[in-house]
């Protein structure tokens, strides 16, 4: 187990290195002079030159790269062009909002999704099953932003049940619309996987044994079948966590939820390079770290994986 974790850890570091490199390249390929963009189009040549010197833009590319790498590892990603505040600090300030949204959405989608999946599997090929699965396919196909808009229209505007935009600090109702919108897609995916995994498990001999022993249906489903069907379901839920974090970005833009997503989109539209770099890098790092933790979780759930 220790060897597995250490191996994974070093591979993760390698990936992070690649991620930082790609983030670096991303912004040095952008047309336009970062210093000029920062100072505005009408700045004089002398000030632009001064800023270029300060940012080290005149040094050769590999020098800039190692500078970036060194600083990034220490947690310094520069200052935002737009607000002149420290990039890393701004991101860390906004992250809890995104995390709150993503985690609550994921919990909702996991619970409801698994329930729907179990019911569909138990009552497979009935109308209930077909309807649920069609609904699930529908959920996967609905573009998140479109669904968000329609939710905003129906529940926010017509029915006026929930507010349209703003943050939870003004009341729990503000969380509802964004969270439900975000939860739809993972819910659908989890429901489908749960159903197919449960169906696989239910055809196994030990389930027939349990039923033959006279166990109640509840016991059969929850104590025996579900446990063994869990592996792909857990895989999907953890994959959904990363996807949900990504999807949250769009939702934040639509519902004006002050998290990293809104920050990322705003900075892209304003061409605030340090912030763009910061948000992209931060997202990738979170993703890689989550994957690393999930890989360890797999090894705990299924010991065979350690031998891979």
């Amino acid at each position: 187990m220790a060897a597995y974790i250490v191996r994974n850890f070093f591979y993760t570091i390698l990936i992070l290195l690649g991620v930082i490199t790609v983030t670096f390249c991303l912004l040095y390929v952008v047309p336009g002079d970062p210093a000029r963009i920062m100072l505005g189009q009408r700045a004089d040549v002398a000030s632009v030159e001064a800023v270029r010197e300060e940012l080290g833009l005149n040094k050769p590319l590999y020098v800039q790269y190692f500078r970036f790498l060194g600083k990034a590892v220490q947690g310094d990603l520069g200052r935002s062009y737009a607000s002149n505040r420290d990039v890393v600090q701004t991101i860390l300030d906004k992250f809890p909002a995104t995390a709150l949204l993503a985690i609550t959405a994921l919990i909702l989608s996991a619970i409801v999704g698994v329930l729907i999946g179990i019911i569909s599997a138990v009552k497979s090929y009935t109308l209930l099953d077909n309807a649920s699965m069609l609904f699930a396919l529908f959920g996967i196909s609905f573009p998140t932003f479109a669904f968000g808009l329609i939710m905003a229209l129906v529940f926010g505007f017509w029915l006026k049940w929930f507010p349209l935009s703003g943050y939870i600090s003004e009341g729990p109702a503000y969380l509802v619309l964004p969270m439900v919108t975000l939860a739809l897609r993972p819910l659908a995916i989890i429901a489908r996987i749960t159903r197919s995994s449960m169906l696989d498990a239910m055809s196994q001999d030990y389930v027939r044994t349990a039923k033959a022993k006279g166990l109640s249906q509840g016991a059969v489903i929850f104590k025996h079948t579900l446990r063994n069907a869990l592996n792909p379901i857990v895989t999907t839920i953890s994959a959904s966590l990363a996807a949900t974090l990504g999807g949250a970005y769009f939702i934040e833009y639509i519902f004006n939820w002050p998290g990293i997503g809104l920050l990322a989109f705003d900075s892209i539209l304003k061409l605030d390079f340090p912030m763009i770099q910061g948000t992209v890098l931060f997202s990738a790092v979170i993703f890689v770290v989550i994957n690393f933790l999930v890989d360890i979780l797999y090894a705990v759930l299924d010991p065979k994986i350690k031998l891979d």
């Binding site: 229209l153 505007f157 992209v280 993703f287």
Partner: protein, 359 residues
Amino acid sequence: MEAVEQPIIAEEGIIIDQTPKSLWYYSWKRLRRNKLAMIGLGIIVILFFVAATAELIAPFNPNAQILEYSVKPIGFQGNVLIKKFDGDVQYIPIQGIIKEDAGKVYYKDFSGSEANIDKSELEGDSQKEWNKELTFHLGTDRFGRDVLSRLIYGSRVSLSVGIISESIALFLGILFGAIAGYFRGKTDGVIMWIINVVWAFPSILFIIALSVVLGKGFWQAFVAIGLTGWVDIARIVRGQFFSLRETEYIEATKAMGFKAPRVIIKHMLPNCMGPVIVTGTVGLATAILFEASLSFLGLGVQPPTASWGQMIFDGYKYIIAGSNWGLAVFPSLAIMITIFAVNLVGDGLRDALDPKLKR
């Protein structure tokens, strides 16, 4: 409905057709029986038809602006004079015709003041031809452009971006997946590292960042989406190659001394195509979704080209304001139906191509 392939028997005991058929034949038959997948396929065919015949079926030019008719509701009808303009027509909204004589037409224009125009500038010869009541079946957007026509033309953008981006992704994915899967070792290590690094970035952020780097536009959207989509395909191909490499017939090709490209292209790739097609179909749905997302943010396809995502971007503020909600809802429905149809077909393909399922 036949459940099992029966040899065709003409007379007692005489069998006419017992030729073995390929996987594709049986898969197609299985797919045909899947009603939902066939509905999905039907929707896609209709969509293609709409995109191809857009000029014929769209009631208006999607870029024709009639500013006076900005943001009008569904089914709105307007009285217009039709004027000749640069080989096309221009619509002049009027309140009504006052009178006409030999050379001119006198009318009340949109704001109520009197105006006149030479008959030579008008389209056609009779009042029936240059004075019509236009119907905007789904309303107009803020520039007075017909929503229905823009929806019809928008299908072109969604379909073409989806197909081209996914083709780029398929090409890159098959290339890298095959190389990684065949040569293994260090090559595989490097390619897997690249795949993991690309996969670490949230797709939507990556695509947007790429779009900013590459600039806004049609071609940039293809490249950006294709560069993120290849990862899934590569994984599948690589996985398939790993299992195929152990099979005896591939070992036989090595024994026969075939060179790598020949083995890969002629022997291994054709056997991977099942899962690749399924993943490619799902990827197509995702590509259409990403195009819509890009356009929604103002990147990707630029105005005045009609794109569904862009129509949502334009119409989005009207939902909050509470006026013509159709502006954002109709393109959303269009996207959703398209993606839903593609997913139905993808699901059906997955079931049909699975050789483990009993026929």
